[in-house]
């Protein structure tokens, strides 16, 4: 990539200090997002997806989880900024969209007040200019009768419409990056399709980079350019979405893809990954996936694999580099 990445994450690690020792929820994660690119982060519950997002915008505050590593927004480090300098970045340069649109809007304030407040916090506009901008934004996210509905309360909007308002809130200061954490999980499938299309369209128009966190591989396949598959706090595989979906290299990604019932083809027995993801208290040594892996061999149980390049992707699996194992797999 010739262009500077918008976001660059290096060796991100999130730890929970507990009485019984330190739990590592996100372990040594690195990735870049280019302008206008959508990077999907997919994984099952407890894989560390949401913590990654929260750590990037500095929402993890002591004495809770501690994050280490380097987060750069347009080549400038933001992970070590004091709260006073981080606050203007959140909302202005990085927008957020959360899963539940009802909890991310304040039920006691009109939608317009929330939009105008956010706009005026980040941009130097008069009340009237901010209101005009808020109406324009609401129109852009597809809310009909925006002039009237701007004075409505969140409960007067349906789930899909609320998520559109949240999207307008995230976009109101023209951020360079949007972190969307399960933005469509609470919505019905027909509404989900609308919101995905909208998110894609708006970000393409503005060249906004998106970090899309979801458990739904279908949403990723629709929306993302590249995808990182997370397992037990680590990236198992990262690469162009088409490659990862169609031709995964990591045994976990293969299992995950096989376990999703398809809309096309024969309704065969689903691929089953035995067992479940380890708890944070009991992440096995070596590769975290080794107890469930059908191709496990000695090295997997001892040494942790790094991300090895394979075709256009990277995957953290010893099978890719160990020739003797390759022969037997």
């Amino acid at each position: 990539m010739i262009r500077q990445p918008v976001l660059s994450v290096r060796n991100l690690r999130v730890e929970f200090p507990t009485r019984r020792g330190t739990l590592v929820a996100v372990d040594d994660i690195s990735f870049d997002i280019a302008p206008g690119e959508v990077l999907g982060v997919v994984g099952e519950s407890g894989a560390g997806k949401s913590l990654t997002g929260a750590a990037i915008i500095g929402l993890l505050e002591p004495p809770g989880p501690i994050s280490r590593g380097i987060v750069e927004l347009k080549v400038r480090r933001i992970d070590n900024l004091p709260p006073s300098q981080m606050r203007p970045i959140r909302g202005k340069r990085i927008g957020m969209v959360f899963q539940d649109p009802l909890t991310s809007l304040n039920p006691l304030y009109r939608v317009g007040e929330q939009l105008i407040e956010t706009i005026r916090t980040h941009l130097e506009l008069s009340e009237r200019e901010a209101r005009a901008r808020a109406i324009a934004l609401l129109k852009e996210v597809g809310i009909q009768g925006a002039e009237r509905r701007i004075d409505g309360y969140p409960h007067e909007f349906s789930g899909g419409m609320r998520q559109r308002v949240v999207l307008a809130l995230a976009l109101c200061a023209e951020p360079e990056l949007i972190i969307a954490d399960e933005p469509t999980t609470a919505l019905d499938v027909s509404i989900q399709a609308q919101i995905i299309q909208l998110l894609k369209k708006l970000c393409r128009e503005r060249d906004t980079a998106v970090l899309l966190i979801t458990h739904d591989m279908g949403v990723i396949a629709e929306t993302a350019d590249r995808v990182a598959v997370m397992y037990a706090g680590r990236i198992a595989e990262i690469g162009p979405v088409r490659d990862v979906v169609k031709d995964p290299h990591h045994p976990y990604t293969k299992g995950l893809m096989g376990s999703i019932p398809a809309l096309e083809g024969a309704a065969n027995r689903l691929v089953q990954i035995p067992g479940s993801m380890p708890r944070l208290t009991a992440i096995p040594p070596g590769c975290a996936f080794n107890p469930r892996c059908p191709h496990v061999f000695d090295r997997c149980r001892v040494e942790r694999p790094e991300l090895f390049p394979i075709e256009r992707s990277h995957a953290a699996c010893w099978l890719l580099v160990d020739d003797t194992a390759k022969a037997t797999a």
């Binding site: 099952e44 519950s45 349906s158 899909g160 419409m161 019905d188 499938v189 027909s190 509404i191 989900q192 399709a193 609308q194 995905i196 299309q197 458990h215 739904d216 591989m217 279908g218 949403v219 396949a221 629709e222 088409r242 979906v245 169609k246 299992g255 995950l256 096989g258 376990s259 999703i260 019932p261 398809a262 809309l263 096309e264 083809g265 309704a267 027995r269 689903l270 691929v271 089953q272 990954i273 479940s276």
Partner: protein, 332 residues
């Protein structure tokens, strides 16, 4: 279907009174308000068949499930299982005998297990309630057998529900449902609270158990891919009515009702085939004041004059039934 169906629902309807309290109505001059959650739903499920109901939130799927198992009295229509009416007073004795043969699996495995009971007691409860085994050792043996059947260890019976993961809890729910040797299981979104890899385990388990015990399933889900994987026939619901019933293969190959088409188009394209898709428009209307005529007409690309006036009846075309004026008029 040659043999008589095991489950038959006929014109099943359920209306909820959602009016404000009497005093408010008097003071504010409000009318009574009714929510028609389910209207004239009819279907039949053959023995050993899986019939699925699919639809978005508020389409009435779960209300149908509750009426079928006998948890919620219908306000109209009837359900009969093996020719015993689930709601008429005449069949009370028959119905008691029927109870053992029907079980239900719920969506949320966290809420459907009593947190204060050990797992072995949870599973043993139906066995004792139906008097299937009286002797303690016999019950314990049966519980162990059931736990093994769903892929858990008999020793797990001593634990409490909170010690298990979501997928394991759903396995416990299945073991409990199977403990009375039922023939008919109603599964209301059994995997929607689970991760995909766990969902795959549960779906595979449910199919294995069906083959092994000749179970009949009524499977309720909002996930079309899951439904396609499990069911032989599918009923698509929209705002309390079935708009299309068809064998699974046919429904996915050539969906007829515009809503079914829209729903299929809205599913993310995981195979990345790049199939052409129409953008979905609008949202489900408020069920308290549904649009007149066909409830789907404000969102329907094929709507024409009769759709706004008359509710389309379900019309059979071979094995398929569709409720759409446009389909009948050959506008598709």
């Amino acid at each position: 279907m040659s043999a008589a169906p095991l489950v038959e629902a006929e014109n099943l309807s359920r209306i909820f009174d959602v009016s404000k309290p009497w005093l408010n109505r008097v003071i504010e001059r409000d009318e009574k308000r009714f929510l028609k959650a389910v209207q004239n739903v009819s279907f039949a499920i053959a023995r050993k068949e899986t019939f699925a109901l699919v639809g978005e939130s508020g389409s009435g799927k779960s209300t149908v499930a509750k009426m079928v198992v006998g948890l919620l009295p219908p306000t109209g229509g009837a359900v009969s299982i093996d020719n015993v009416d689930m709601w008429s007073t005449a069949d009370t004795n028959e119905r008691q005998k029927l109870r053992r043969r029907i079980q239900m699996i719920f969506q949320d495995p966290y809420a459907s297990l009593n947190p204060q009971w050990r797992v072995k007691h949870i599973i043993a409860d139906p066995i004792k309630a139906f008097g299937l085994a009286t002797d303690g050792a016999e019950v314990e043996h049966r519980v162990g057998e059931l736990l093994r059947l769903v892929g858990l260890d008999p020793a797990d019976g001593h634990k409490y529900p909170h010690e298990f993961s979501g997928g394991q809890r759903q396995r416990i729910c299945i073991a409990r449902a199977l403990s009375s040797n039922p023939e008919f299981l109603v599964c209301d979104e059994p995997t929607s609270a689970l991760d995909v890899s766990v969902q795959a385990q549960i779906l595979n388990l449910m199919r294995d158990l069906q083959d092994r015990f000749d179970l009949t399933y009524l499977f309720i889900s909002h996930n079309l891919a899951v439904v396609r994987h499990m069911a032989a026939r599918i009923g698509v619901m929209y705002l309390g009515r079935i708009v299309e019933i068809a064998p699974t293969e046919e429904l996915f190959r050539a969906p007829q009702h515009p809503y079914t088409r829209m729903l299929l188009d809205a599913v993310p394209d995981l195979a990345m085939t790049g199939r052409a898709r129409k953008m979905v428009e609008g949202e489900i209307p408020n069920p308290i004041s549904p649009p007149p005529g066909c409830a789907f007409h404000p969102r329907c690309p094929l709507a024409f004059e009769p759709c706004t006036v008359k509710i389309p009846p379900l019309v059979a075309h071979g094995e398929r039934e569709v409720a759409c004026h446009a389909v009948e008029a050959g506008r598709i």
